[in-house]
């Protein structure tokens, strides 16, 4: 089984990378982009026995820094 962990900056936390990407998109002539936030996608290949609570513990202990980041877990059937 696979799980995808999406790690994103919390609302209100300044995202300088997102700002730079936004700026570059505008520089390329794409108009109408109102905001850009950059995050991370982490894919985990997991044994079927792993419980949701354990994946959440992985996120809290390592994959996300909950001071500044949120995370969302998506289980994917193989």
């Amino acid at each position: 089984m696979k799980a995808r962990v999406y790690v994103t900056l919390k609302n209100g936390v300044l995202d300088p990378q997102g700002k730079a990407i936004h700026h570059a998109l505008e520089g390329l002539g794409f108009s109408g982009v109102e905001d850009v936030r950059a995050g991370k996608l982490i894919e985990l290949e997991l044994a079927d026995t792993i419980a949701d609570a354990e994946i959440e513990a992985m996120c809290r202990k390592l994959l996300a820094n909950t001071v500044i980041e949120n995370f969302r877990v998506e289980r994917v059937a193989a």
Partner: protein, 221 residues
């Protein structure tokens, strides 16, 4: 005074920190590899050096904070042993939870490498006892992720409890409230982005960092 410097794969200020400690404590510090699980006996100070431990994978300091030796460092900090984290060391200390907040990518996205003017926030810590509160000093920075961030309550608490050790005198990296260095609640753990070990003698272009080590030695010995 006996001290130790933790060495991670990717540390690059460990030797500078060791020289600063040797010069100011009179003893050569023990260099402790990240895979160790115990610190040498009887040390009064642990240095967590700058660099790019584990290539800054995941987040700066994230992997190093979970390395075996850091369990011993956290435990020693709990017993009151002084811990000094510089640059990547500050990032590692926030990732272990010894210090609050997080260090994010610099607001201007640039790697900043230059001397910066700092204002000493308090002289009431072992780390800053040889400075005057409000004193202006010059210490270099060299980092990409020094943008200190914490929620407003935490920032208010840090300021209210006199735990902001150093502030940038001008804009450097977007840090909340210009915070350059903070101490923990009990005052025995300091994390700072600027490099005091790079300003300990005239040949460095100044010795403003030296008093940090001298103050520590006086407080601990």
């Amino acid at each position: 005074m006996k001290s130790a410097v933790i060495v991670f794969p990717g540390s690059n200020c460990d030797r500078d920190l060791a020289v600063a400690l040797r010069e100011t404590t009179g003893e050569t510090p023990a260099m402790v590899w990240h895979r160790e699980t115990e610190l040498p006996e009887g040390i009064g100070l642990i240095g967590v050096p700058g660099g790019f431990s584990y290539g800054d994978y995941l987040r700066a300091g994230a992997m190093a904070a979970r390395s075996p030796i850091m369990r011993a460092v956290v435990e020693a900090a709990g017993r009151g042993v002084a811990v000094l984290g510089v640059c990547n060391g500050f990032q590692i200390l926030t990732e272990t939870g010894l210090l609050p907040g997080a260090l994010m990518r610099n607001a201007g996205l640039n790697f900043v490498c230059r001397d910066v003017a700092l204002t000493v926030g308090t002289s009431q810590t072992a780390f800053t006892s040889r400075y005057e509160a409000g004193e202006a000093i010059t210490v270099p920075v060299a980092h990409h992720d020094g943008n200190y961030n914490a929620d407003e309550d935490v920032l208010d608490r840090l300021e209210g409890e006199g735990r902001v050790a150093f502030r940038y005198a001008g804009p450097v990296n977007g840090s909340a409230r210009d915070i350059a260095g903070i101490v923990n609640e009990s005052g025995n753990v300091l994390g700072m982005m600027p490099h005091p070990e790079r300003k300990i003698e005239g040949a460095h272009g100044g010795a403003d960092g030296r008093r940090l080590f001298e103050g520590l030695v006086a407080a601990i010995a």
